[in-house]
Every structure is written in C-alpha cells, then in structure tokens.
C-alpha cells in the first residue's frame, strides 16, 4: 500500500494553473525523484502536500488518512517533512537548537534535554557536529542543507521532500550532501527528491516522475524515463545529451 497518495490535485493562482490534476503515489521505503523544467509545478506540489496551500480540488492521503485540508503542523506530527530550496533556518537559535526544536515538536513531544541529546547525535550523523554551538548565519550552503536534513531526521519524519537539495552545490559539497541523503534512505526513510536536472538523481532514485505544465508527463525507472520518447522530445530535447 502506498504511503502518500496524491490524486487529481489542482491548484490555481489567479489565472495561472500551477497544478493541473497531478497524480503521485509513493510507497514506504522508496526514493522517488521528481524532475521537470522551471514552472512545471514541482515546488507547488511540495507546498500542497505540506499544507502551505490547500488545493482547489483533488485529494491527498498520507498513511491512509485524508490530509487534504489538514494544517501544516499536524502533517509534520504525522511524519511528513521537507527541506527548502532556499534553506530556512531559525536564525535566533543555535544550530543544535534548530535541530532540537524539530525533535521537541515533531512526531513525538520531547522535553528540551532529551531533544538536545538527540540533536547532538543527529548533527554527528550528518557531519555537522563541530558547528553545533554556532548560529545558522555563519553556515555555508552545504552546511545549511545538512542542517535541514538533520531537522527532518529529528522530527522522525517517515517521508521527506527534498526540494532541490543539490541547488548551488558542486563537486565535493554535492557528493557530501548526496551521500547523507543516501544514508538517510538506507536508514529507512522514504524520500522524494525534487530536482531540476536528472543527472543528480539518476543513480539515486528507484523511480522518476517527470512533471510538465502542472501535470505528470511520464513515470518509470531512470533508464525508462530517459529513453521515453515524449520526455526526450518535450522536456529534455536536444539538451539531454548535455545533462
């Protein structure tokens, strides 16, 4: 049975239809990639699943519960989490407390002391322990991404959306973040990665969903998708050879 089921979701902003009947199904333990060009509706899809906006029509279920119009914090308590394309740390809290607050209010309600202990462990796991007592302002992009991953872990999230976790990263930094993602997945976390280009998730994802103009264009294993004529023509086009 699938853990997350998005069916027929429509979301309009004024005259613009950002999501036009999206279907998405994620099974527990999967690592799914969602790709698509700018404006395809990827981030809107994440926002609708997380409850930042409610859809105009359609239905979202998580763990068998209808969450279509549930407030965001209750979705978090059920085990849904995300990272942001532009990281959004809590700037007045130290790095360790950024993670601890997620442990305090995530799936379980933990007291401060216990939450900070968990946060310390998690920071070690994502290799950010030496920055625990610093404030997020002083972190690099790669460190901020790890902080958000640690926050999702601290919530004991069952399913995490990673919104362009690779954006702005190259070389060693990119490999570092992707290896953390892989470890989280091997640790049993269900992950949906939103990416702009396929290269990043080609070796990571078990299944790829291609989005275009607010709809699902294609779906399949990375090799199936990359050889799908429609995908190659309408999205990847000639640039496929370059990416």
């Amino acid at each position: 049975m699938s853990m997350l089921e998005v069916s027929g979701v429509v979301k309009r902003f004024g005259g613009l239809t950002a999501l036009n009947g999206v279907e998405l199904s994620v099974r527990g333990g999967e690592l799914v990639g969602i790709i698509g060009p700018n404006g395809a509706g990827k981030t809107t899809l994440v926002n609708v699943v997380m409850g930042v906006y409610y859809p105009d029509s359609g239905r979202i279920t998580f763990d068998g519960h209808d969450i279509t119009r549930m407030p965001p914090h209750r979705r978090a308590k059920m085990g849904l989490s995300r990272t942001y394309q532009v990281p959004r740390p809590f700037n007045d809290l130290k790095v360790i407390d950024n993670v601890a607050v997620a442990a305090m209010y995530g799936s379980k309600d933990l007291p401060v002391g216990e939450a900070r202990e968990i946060a310390e462990d998690l920071l070690r796991r994502v290799r950010l322990a030496e920055r625990a007592e610093d404030y997020p302002e002083s972190l690099s992009v790669v460190e901020l991404r790890k902080l958000e991953l640690a926050r999702a872990l601290a919530q004991e999230a069952k399913l995490v959306f990673l919104d362009e976790v690779s954006a702005g990263l190259v070389g060693e930094d990119l490999r570092e973040v992707l290896s953390v993602v892989r470890e989280l997945h091997e640790g049993g976390m269900t992950i949906v990665m939103i990416e702009h280009v396929m290269k990043v998730i080609f070796n990571l994802a078990e299944r790829i969903v291609v989005m275009m103009n607010g709809q699902k264009l294609a779906e399949g294993t990375p090799s199936e998708v990359s050889s799908d004529a429609r995908v190659v023509e309408s999205y990847l086009g000639r640039r496929w050879s370059e990416v």
Binding site: P72, H73, R74, F90, V101, A102, Y105, Q155
Partner: protein, 343 residues
C-alpha cells in the same frame, strides 16, 4: 530583534537582575518619598514593557497594549469597589480579565500577517475608551470622571518592596518561558512561521497563548499602577485619545533592547526616571512642557530605531561579543605560533 545577544548564563543573569532591582528599590527608599514613587513606576513599567516585548519576540507588534493595561486597572478598581474584594486579591484576580481579552485578541491576531496585528490592536483602544466612558457602564467605571480606588491594604513602606518582588517574578516568568519548550517554539515562530509549521509547531496556538500571558502581565502592570501609585483610574489609560500608554512599553523595550528581558530592564531603569525628570523640569517652564518632553522621547525612539535597531543592550552585547571573538582569534593565533616554533 534577536534573542541571541545574551550575556552570561541564565542563573548569573537572574542574579544580576535581582541585584539591579534591589539597588533601585534600596537607593530610592534612602533618597525619600518621591524617588520611592518613581521606583514603583519603574517596577510597573518593567512588567508592562516585558508584556509588550514578549509579543514582539513572537513576531507580533502590539500598538494597543494599553487596552490590557487599562483593563487590568479597571478590573482591579471595580472588583475592589463594586464587589468589595480585598484589593490584594483584586490585584491578582483583576488581570485575569486582561488574560481573557489577550486570548480573544490573540485568537484573531494569530491569523493576521505582520502589520495587521498592529492596526488591529491599535483599533481596539478607541473601543476600550468608548466602553469606559459609556453611560451603560458608568455605575462601574464612573465614566469620564475616572474611578478613585481605596488605599492599598499594606503599610506604605511595603509598597515598593511588593512591586519589586512582582517585577522580579515577571522577569522569572519570561526567563522560564525562554528556557522551556515553548521558548524554542516562540523563537522559531518569530524567525520563520512557515518553517516552524514544517517542524510541527502550531504557531496559531502558541501565538494565542502568548497573547493571553502578555494580556495578564500588561493588566497586572495596570493594576499595580493604580494600587501602588495613582489610586485613580482614568479612561485615557486605554491609550486614547493620547496614545502615550500604548507607546511607553515600546519606548522602553526598543531603546533598551527588546531582544532580552535585561535590555528591557535597562531601558526602563534608564528612561523612566529620565522621562519623569525632563517632564517635571519642562512642565515647570511651561504648561505644555510635558508635550515637549514627549517630543524629545519620540525623537530618541526614532534615532535608536535608525542607528541601533537592537537597542542599547543589543549594542553593548554586540561589542562584548566582538571583543570576545577578537580575544579568541588572538589566542588561536598564539597557539599556532607556538606550534610552528615547536616544529
């Protein structure tokens, strides 16, 4: 706006605040009756300013905090006079009205974006004033004439110590909030409400609760003001038509440094006597000297907002932090030098 410019551990800070409050109380008692009264207002406005900064540090700017202040004052007076309650009990029970009003205002404010909270709270003060002077409520409020309250049933030498203890208690409440789970949630909400929701924090609930606590504290300040200082309640405590009662906590918090309760204390201890002194000096020169004093304070607020947005305490804390950082860098450089000579 930041909570992070804290100097020293919680315990040391609490001791320091207790010492400052005790010094203010002791020194003014030695100096005489008038300074003792001023010291009482310092305690009152410290509690009041803490109530405002608690909201501001949760991302809600109240421009009508006097609504709760005046509700506390009136509730104290009405409970003591119309219902014959012991004034000491009324001082603590009256502010429950402020807490209830705070929860109601907070319920709506929690759903509003940034400046709408300001306009909403601001718009409530004329309504409070209208109620206070309305003929229907005149039997309780005495209308525009105002309400004279009975003498507070404690020896007058105990009034300042009593106010000082309440002020320290209010400080402790703020510190406890900061150190408990709720404090972490409030910081997260203040920084980024959407991200706070993502980690499972119910921002609306916490904002409503905070408004309730703030309403109680502001109302307690109003009740203390009447019980220990004026013995009289006027409709203009609602901050209308003159907005002074809503602006004072903003002055003290912003100029002192709203990011920490110590900054708020600094602002209140420095500015409250200064304001009183300037005001009485200028009032001696002209009948509208008081207005001129308020112009000066308005200018001071504008200058601080422009030049030191984190207030005096934020400015000092930043200076100390940069000194520490320099010392740390110097020490590191020293260690490296030793290592290199060792090789």
């Amino acid at each position: 706006m930041s909570m992070k410019l804290d100097l020293g551990s919680t315990f040391i800070r609490a001791i320091a605040v207790a010492v400052v409050l005790a010094i203010v109380a002791a020194a003014s008692t030695i100096m005489g009756t008038y300074p003792t009264l001023i010291a009482i207002t310092i305690m009152v406005f410290f509690v009041y300013s803490l109530s405002w900064s608690l909201l501001a540090n949760t991302g809600m700017v109240s421009l009508g905090q006097a609504l709760f202040f005046a509700l506390g004052a009136y509730a104290y007076g009405i409970f003591a006079i119309s219902y014959g309650m012991n004034p000491i009990a009324a001082l603590f029970v009256g502010p429950v009205m402020g807490a209830l009003a705070g929860l109601a205002v907070g319920f709506i404010s929690a759903r509003l974006r940034d400046w709408y909270v300001g306009i909403f709270t601001f718009a409530l003060t004329p309504a409070g004033y209208a109620l206070a002077v309305s003929s229907q409520l005149q039997p309780w409020t005495a209308g525009a004439v105002g309400l004279a309250t009975p003498r507070f049933p404690l020896g007058s030498s105990l009034w300042l110590p009593f106010a000082t203890v309440l002020a320290f208690a209010a400080y402790l409440v703020i510190m406890i909030i900061k150190k408990r789970r709720i404090g972490y949630a409030l910081s997260a909400i203040n920084n980024d409400e959407t991200a706070a929701g993502t980690v499972g924090i119910n921002a609306r609930l916490y904002k409503t609760i905070v408004f309730g606590i703030s309403g109680y504290m502001a109302a307690l300040a109003g009740a203390m003001f009447v019980a220990l200082y004026t013995s009289y309640i006027a409709p203009d405590y609602f901050g209308y038509p003159d907005i002074s009662y809503s602006v004072w906590p903003i002055f003290y918090s912003m100029i002192g440094g709203m990011g920490s309760p110590e900054g708020v204390l600094l602002g209140t201890v420095l500015l409250d006597p200064l304001e009183t002194a300037i005001r009485s000096w200028l009032s001696g020169i002209s009948v509208v000297g008081g207005n001129l004093a308020l112009v000066i304070f308005g200018l001071l607020l504008v200058v601080v907002l422009l030049k030191a947005p984190k207030g005096i305490y934020g400015y000092v804390a930043k200076y100390v932090e940069s000194r520490k950082a320099r010392a740390r860098r110097a020490a590191e450089a020293g260690t490296k030098a030793e290592v290199s000579t060792g090789q």
